[in-house]
Structures are given as structure tokens and as C-alpha cells.
Symmetry: C3
Subunit: 265 residues, 3 copies
């Protein structure tokens, strides 16, 4: 994997990232994968709408009595920690087990592990179950890994845990220990819409459903979300219209837009 | 009931459906019925907003300790199966009992019964409690009835169960065993917004609150939702702006628009 | 405190209210307070987006195992009664205790206490824990206080309970027993969007996080929300676009707009 001409320290040019994402997006729209989401009630509606806009089919039940059946009929699983009570932890255990038995990829989103010790301890337990990818922000990375979110620390944590880390912020890093990608797309209004990160994690899951290379899937998802955010900002007057416009953008985003807008850092 | 001039196999002309729906809509806006909704957390916000936009007053508590009081002060009840855990099944039993004691109509929406056996078994239990109407899609009809969703099968299942079946899809069928109506309105973007079917079911409940003939109430609800979907699509750039515009359309839809846009098949 | 020139029976002129609210808003945006919200699942998404649009940082977990940690790292707490089951009542008790220990202000929103006796009884229990402010509508005030919502009754109830009452409706009253403010801003479409009152209560909490005088904080929140509602109505075609536009308005509202639009009665 050669270094890109326009950035140091990353293994993918903007053209490579755009091309990979376009291929993943085309497969996603052609196959309409089912993504089962264990997520918090704040995020459920926006997450479902983001998946539907992109072309995936969400389901969201949290009942331990049926979640195994739902997961085994899905193509990928999202586990978002905004959901912490005992009943939901039991459902999560069943869901991850069902995903493992069916060979499905799953994504961990360790929301707010920087805010409560027990939540962070639970995230450590889930890391031991080997998620295919983890999407998180800088504060969550620091709480989970114990390190400041430098490129070296992200690569090291990904390598040590044998997973893909998708660290989002003003720019995004995607590392699997061997490879590092960056995505410089996005917009500050994304931080003013609740559940934007949760929705991004669900899109990682949707991409994993159609792309076996978890690094390619995660970096494609990050690029799609970042470019959609920039498309949305073109029309938005504030976070309300931005949240609407990013759903429209996930519906209309295409190969040409990805190629024209992709940026790395 | 004479056959309409512009369609075979249905008992209502487009003019009849539009006229019925306009009368139901006028009563709904004049009386502002209370609709208690047992629905899943993905759908709650959009369902409440759809009811408010149309002129009804939603409530949504799921607590067994108070749901009886809420239902007995309402004018109709929606039971949506997106809600499956034990606590909510207990609340559902209390709510249906309270509706029966108060003589309130109730609607069953057997969401995703095609995805998990236990959910389907629970839907069968609820069918035995005689909902006034059932709104569902083709996959859910097949799972529930054991038959492919032909006109004959829908009519037969409605007759056998003594209820109104509102089957939604590219076009909708509304059957009570004696009568069959069709609604050809709607738009493909409706399938790209989560909880659109759940919201439609809540509008069936709102119409039942003001119209004792459950077949008229259900076909009116289907027509109102389908026409609102077409109005929304006129302005939408994708599923985000479509979801916003359909709420505006439910607020502004009127007799003239229903008459001009109603279509049957 | 002198009577305003343009209204009888209130202690704040429109200029005073606008000036206070502008100062509170500036502090809120500068400090980005964390507001922990115990609220119902219908309201969670819109409430979080309203807080983010204004410049605050919401969190919403309801798990008893971690809510104490979340609250103690927050700057204010909202307790909304749309959440009634046993688990959530336990979480509420922990949260209010954590707020008291950390010296944090908290707001009570006694949603729908007029609909179920047990909910009203629970609201009385919470009133005994001395919320810094209570935001409610006329029906809820009557159920809670046993009195019709006259200015005298609102002032009397606030004085007796040692709290600030923010009574919202076609116009709003804000009383702490010693002082009375009115806000005449707002728009009828606010009643057609679910969780608008819940979001307003969360904004009271956000203002309390940056303003120790609870009467000033509550009247500032009421003015900000009312003016944002009028800004939103300028562009809205119905309740769908109104809900989007009020989030944009909370993001863009400024000192000049508050000064130009503030009205009292």
C-alpha cells in the first residue's frame, strides 16, 4: 500500500478512499443489508432513518426474547453503549453470541465511556468479545485505551486489540494496526445534532455487511458520512435543517460526489 | 354498495373514498380525539408528531401502573408490536382491557412478525382479543395469516377474524370480509422513513375515534396518508425532507386535495 | 423592581426580560453547560437537539447504575415525568440526590399529571424535594396545585413551595412568590409539535446551569423559546417544517432578535 501523494503518515490517497467508498456504497444499495441496532432511545429514530436513507434496512428490538432471531436474520450488528440497564446488557450478550454463530460482523460504539466508570468497565468487557470495528471520539478513546488519541496510540490500540478503530473528530482516523487512513471531510454542525456519531457507527455496520475488509468498510463509512455532512451544510440554516439535509444527502450521494469531495489530512 | 366505474373488484369509487375521508378528517379536526399509543421507541416521536399534525392528541406512556387511566381517558388505542418485553406485554393487556371496558376502538400493528416466531405467536394472541382494525404489510400478512396477500386471502382473513385488514404496500387494500376498498396513492419515499407504517396505524386509530364504521375509518386513514405522501414528495429532495413535508401535508391536507388526488386500483 | 410601562401586574419590562435573556444566552454559549435529562422516550431526541442547538451538552441515561455519575458531572438536571416505571423512579431518586450533593439546580416538568392519579401523586412527592423551577401548562398546574391558573394562584403556589413556577400557554407566567414576569411570545404551531414543552423545560435547566437566580433563568428560557418559536413560524409550512426551523432558530437567536421581538402581557 503506497503512501498518498497529498498526505504524510496515511496509507490511502483521497482517490483510493473515494473509489473504495463508491464500491461499498454501490454494493450496499444493491443488496440492502439488514442491520440490527442495539442503541439508545435518543438515537434510535435518527439511526434508523440514516440507514434507510443510505439503502440499508434497520431493526432495533432490545428484547432478550427475540433479539437472537432478529440478529441471526440480519447482515450486521451495532452495539451502542447508550443502553446500559441489566435487561439490555443481557440482550447485548445474546446478540453478540448470535452474531458470532452466524459469522456476522459487529461494531461497538462506546458512547460516553468517559462519563461513568461502570460504563467504561462494561466497554472493556465488550472489547474482549472482539468487535470487527469500534467507532468513538477522542474523549471516549482516551477513557477506553488510557492514552491520548495520537496516530501512534490509535494504531497501537487497534493492533493490540485486533480490531479497526474509527476515531472521529474534526478529522477522522481509521486504523487496524497495519494500515492508517484519514478522512478530513465533515462539518462542525455534525456536533450539534444528537446521535450523529451513533448514526455514523450504524453506517459502519452497514458497510461491514457488504465489505469483508473491516478497514475498507470503516474508512468508507467515515468518508460517506463526512461528505454527506458537507453536502448537508451547503443548504442548512442551522442544526435542524442540517439533520434533515444529511438524510437527503445519504440518499443522493454518489460516486462523482465522493470523488469530487473526498479529502485526507 | 355498487362497484366503482374505474376499478374492478373493489366496492368504492375514488369519489366515495375521498368523500368519506374528507368527512372523517373534518370530524377529527373538530373533536381532536385522544389516541393512546403503545408503540416502540423508534416510532414514538414521529407517531406523536403525525397525530398532532393531523389534529389528534397523542399519549404514549407504557407504564402498567398508569396506562389504564390514560386509556380510559382516551378515544382510541394503538397497539404496535415493536414493543415486546414482559413489562410492556403486561401494559398491553391492561390497555386492551381498559379499551374494552370503555368501549374504545383499538388497532393492531403487528410490526416485524415475519422476523421472530415469538413475536408472531404474541400477535396471534392479540388477534384473539378482536382488534377493530389491523394495519400491516405483505410480509407481516403472510406471517400472520399463513397466506400470500391476494385480495381473496385478505378478504377471507378479515371475514374469519371479524376485523378490518388494512394491507399497505405499493397500493393498499382495505377489507372487512364484506367490503373491499383499494387506495393507489402513496410514494416510494414512504418506505425510506422509519415508522411511516407505525404512524399510519396511529392515524387509523385516530379515524376510528371519530368514525364507528371501521372499514370507512381505515380506508379514510389509508387515503389521507397516501395523499399526504404524494403532497410531501412534490417538495422533497430525499427521505429527510420527505419526513418533514409529510407532517406539513397532514396539517394542510383538505377536502379539495383528497378529491383531486384520490386514486384506486 | 418597578412595574413595566407596557403591562400591569408584572415586575419586568420587555427590555429587562430581553436584556436578562441575552446575558444568560451569552453565558450559556460560552460555557456549554452539561444538562442531564431524565425524560420520556418520545421527547429524548428533540430535547437533546434543542439543547445542542442552543449550545448546551445533553446526556440522557436512565440507568440507576450510572445516573449518579452522569449527574455529578453535569451542571443541571431535568426531571420530566413522562417516565414513570419503577426503574426510572429509582433513577430519579438517585439523580436528585446526586444533584443535591453537587449543589446542582434541577427542574421538574410534571407532564400529564392531569391524566393519571398516580402520576400526580408522584409529582407531589417530587415537589417535596424542592426543585429550583417547575415548568408546566394550565391543566398540569390545576392538577398539581388544586387551583385554576390565575396570576394570584401561580404566585401563591410558587411562594408556598419556595420554587419558581413557569406556566406556559398562549402567554407564559413566571413567578417565584416575590416577582412575576410574563412572556407573550410564542406561536400556535408550538402545540402541534410533540415534546415542545419538554424541550422548553430542558432549556430552563440549561439556563439554571449558568444563572443562579432561578426566576431570571426561567423567564430567560421562556423568552428564548417563545421568540425562537416566532422566528420558526416565519418560515414554516406546518408543524414538520416548524420543528426543524425552531432548532435552527435556537442556534441563530441573538441579542438583537431578543430585543426586537420580546413581548409581555
Amino acid at each position: 500500500m503506497h503512501k498518498s501523494a497529498d498526505s504524510a503518515g496515511v496509507d490511502f490517497s483521497r482517490e483510493q478512499l473515494a473509489s473504495q467508498a463508491a464500491a461499498v456504497l454501490a454494493r450496499l444499495r444493491a443488496t440492502q443489508p439488514r442491520v440490527h441496532c442495539i442503541t439508545n432511545s435518543v438515537a434510535q429514530n435518527f439511526t434508523a432513518n440514516a440507514l434507510l436513507a443510505l439503502g440499508a434496512v434497520p431493526s432495533m428490538t432490545l428484547s432478550g426474547e427475540e433479539i437472537g432471531a432478529f440478529v441471526s436474520r440480519s447482515n450486521a450488528l451495532l452495539v451502542n453503549l447508550g443502553t446500559f440497564d441489566r435487561e439490555r446488557r443481557e440482550a447485548t450478550a445474546i446478540a453478540i453470541d448470535a452474531a458470532a454463530q452466524s459469522g456476522l460482523p459487529w461494531v461497538l460504539d462506546p458512547v460516553f465511556v468517559d462519563r461513568a466508570e461502570r460504563r467504561c468497565a462494561y466497554a472493556h468487557d465488550l472489547m474482549a468479545l472482539a468487535p470487527h470495528a469500534v467507532r468513538l471520539n477522542a474523549a471516549e478513546f482516551t477513557a477506553l485505551s488510557g492514552d491520548a488519541p495520537s496516530r501512534a496510540a490509535v494504531a497501537s490500540y487497534a493492533r493490540e486489540r485486533g480490531t479497526v478503530i474509527g476515531l472521529t473528530g474534526a478529522s477522522d482516523l481509521i486504523a487496524d494496526g497495519a494500515r492508517m487512513a484519514s478522512v478530513a471531510n465533515g462539518h462542525p454542525l455534525m456536533a450539534r445534532v444528537t446521535a450523529m456519531g451513533c448514526a455514523a457507527s450504524s453506517i459502519v455496520a452497514a458497510c461491514l455487511a457488504v465489505e469483508p475488509d473491516a478497514h475498507v468498510a470503516t474508512s468508507s463509512a467515515m468518508l460517506i458520512v463526512g461528505v454527506a455532512g458537507e453536502m448537508a451544510a451547503d443548504d442548512a440554516k442551522g442544526p435542524g435543517s442540517f439533520a434533515v439535509a444529511i438524510l437527503d444527502a445519504l440518499y443522493t450521494i454518489d460516486t462523482q460526489t465522493l470523488a469530487a469531495r473526498a479529502r485526507i489530512i
